[in-house]
């Protein structure tokens, strides 16, 4: 009998325990949380969630986050598509250096850029807008998008392009009508990655916003520090941030593994 299932099961159990801790705490009252440890909520309450859904500073945080994440995903993929095509199909002056330079931006620690970004986006008067965060996240998302898309595009035989050009297609008509549908799965995976990295990033998002575009994550850190120990509320807000991620994973579950290998397996 095969005992292989034990390790993945234990691993998933290990992954789920902290998440369970968070979920169970979000259904507890503050008194119960501070009163001591209990595995199940004793006085089950939805008050924490009710507070988040009725208080605009809370639910606007989610809306702000989603706006800049979606904006960033579209900008990144839109400009990365032609660039990745160029890298996968043509040799041009400085192509390898350019590719590595793009990747170095993926390696730059955001902490290094936090203050200059603040000054830059204040200078161009984009500070505290969704666009500022979306553009700032391009720093690491565009290189990643180019890298993944290039992997997927290299898997498409060049004969496809050549046949289309012989049939009289112009470059852009071929690109939009034929090429993009061919690598649709790759684009889906790329969007997933851009969504993921923009959604989880906090340092830059927090630095570039103050009121009108403040992301949910920044609202949580402020609550944690100012209003004392409202652990239940914090846990509920945290639990709600799991939902967009879970939905996105469900949609790309069949392609996710390939995307993680950047299309290069």
């Amino acid at each position: 009998m095969n005992k292989k299932w034990i390790l993945p099961t234990l691993y998933i159990l290990f992954l789920m325990l902290p998440i369970y801790g968070l979920l169970s705490m979000s259904f507890k009252t503050t008194n119960e949380i501070l009163g001591g440890f209990s595995f199940f909520p004793q006085q089950f309450t939805l008050a924490n969630y009710a507070k988040i859904f009725t208080d605009p500073t809370w639910y606007n945080g989610y809306i702000n986050s989603l706006i800049y994440v979606v904006l960033n995903t579209f900008i990144s993929v839109a400009v990365a598509l032609p660039a990745a095509y160029a890298f996968s199909r043509y040799r041009f002056l400085g192509d390898k250096h350019l590719f590595f330079w793009l990747l170095t931006n993926r390696m730059a620690p955001p902490a290094v850029f936090a203050l200059p970004f603040f000054q830059l986006y204040s200078a161009v008067e984009l500070f505290d807008t969704h666009l500022a965060v979306a553009l700032a996240h391009c720093l690491f998302n565009i290189p990643l998008a180019v890298w993944i898309l290039e992997g997927f595009m290299s898997g498409v035989p060049k004969e496809l392009d050549e046949t289309a050009y012989l049939d009289g297609y112009s470059f852009w008509r071929f690109f939009v009508r034929i090429f993009i549908p061919t690598i649709a799965a790759g684009i889906g995976v790329t969007m997933f990655f851009c969504f993921m990295y923009s959604w989880v990033e906090l340092l830059l998002a927090k630095t570039l916003t103050s009121v009108s575009a403040k992301p949910i994550a920044a609202i949580m850190t402020r609550t944690a520090s100012t209003s004392g120990y409202e652990l239940g509320l914090l846990a509920a807000a945290g639990s709600l941030t799991l939902i967009p991620g879970a939905i996105v994973i469900y949609f790309v579950r069949n392609h996710i593994a390939k995307g993680f290998a950047l299309g290069r397996v």
Binding site: I33, F100, M107, P116, L242, V265
Partner: protein
């Protein structure tokens, strides 16, 4: 793939170039500016040359956080990579459980980093958290807010929890790409499962493992939010990694000169290690 030379391809790259240059070049020049000058506000600058670089490179504080950073990154990679390979090897290849495994395993990757920190903070609180309470009731003396060893264990465990799935997914993708014929040949030869792993699976995983280690190195070397929310860099300075230290100097004390010099040294170290990785990876791909 056979590529043709075409200089007009530059037009396709231009939008990316402009956007990334706007985001990368201007801020980087700002950092370089600060690193060479002294300012007392009001946009008045004094040339300082390489003073800040010398000061940072000599400071014990920088050595300590660099050492902690290297130790942390090393520990994380040494634990996550073998664990990731092991889990990927024992995952089912087909059937309904594949999707379940993949979705559940990918979940930690999509949680905002400060929520990861907050979640582990709640999980590990000694008196009311699931982990802390269980460890203490089993007789271990555990309190990550007071004891450096507990704080380190918790931080490393959190990172293992957060990122091992990335290694698993990469390795799983690599394993799925091995043709069945390889395994059949091994079965005919009567190869042991160790031999299958050593001579078939591991060589095929080389490429994805390079990507996995590269990504894990880059991300763990710039880790900031999770340990900041979990321990705040404490107790004392024991979990103050490079990024946390940098933000403390730059935004906490507003010592822009030393912070900028430290940023550049930090960035150069990451760049150097990644360049080595990248060169090795590209050489593999060309073979």
């Amino acid at each position: 793939m056979r590529k043709s030379t075409n200089q007009r391809a530059w037009w396709l790259v231009t939008p990316v170039l402009l956007l990334v240059a706007f985001n990368a070049f201007i801020p980087l020049m700002t950092v370089v500016n600060y690193s060479l000058q002294e300012t007392f506000g009001d946009n008045v600058f004094f040339w300082e040359g390489l003073t800040w670089f010398e000061k940072v490179l000599r400071s014990e504080r920088f050595h300590d956080s660099m050492l902690r950073q290297l130790l942390f990154t090393g520990m994380v990679i040494v634990i996550e990579v073998p664990l990731g390979i092991a889990v990927a090897l024992s995952m089912p290849r087909k059937g309904p459980w594949v999707s379940v495994c993949l979705v559940l395993m990918a979940l930690p990757l999509l949680i905002p980093w400060n929520v990861v920190g907050a979640m582990w903070n709640i999980f590990a609180l000694p008196d009311i958290g699931l982990l802390g309470y269980s460890l203490n009731s089993m007789g271990f003396d555990y309190d990550f807010t007071q004891q450096p060893v507990s704080a380190w264990m918790t931080t490393v465990l959190m990172d293992v929890w957060h990122w091992t799935s990335l290694v698993v997914l990469l390795c799983y993708a690599g394993l799925c790409a091995i043709p069945d014929a390889y395994y059949q040949a091994a079965r005919i030869d009567g190869a042991s499962s160790w031999a299958v792993f050593r001579y078939i699976q591991l060589p095929k995983l080389k490429r994805v493992l390079t990507i996995a280690i590269l990504l894990r190195f880059m991300d763990s070397f710039m880790i900031y939010t999770e340990p900041f929310v979990l321990t705040g860099g404490g107790p004392g300075n024991t979990t103050t990694f490079l990024s946390i230290d940098l933000v403390k100097i730059a935004l906490g004390q507003f010592d822009l000169g030393p912070a900028a010099a430290m940023s550049l040294i930090y960035f150069l170290v990451v760049l150097l290690i990644c360049w080595v990785f990248y060169t090795v990876m590209m050489r593999n791909e060309e073979q």
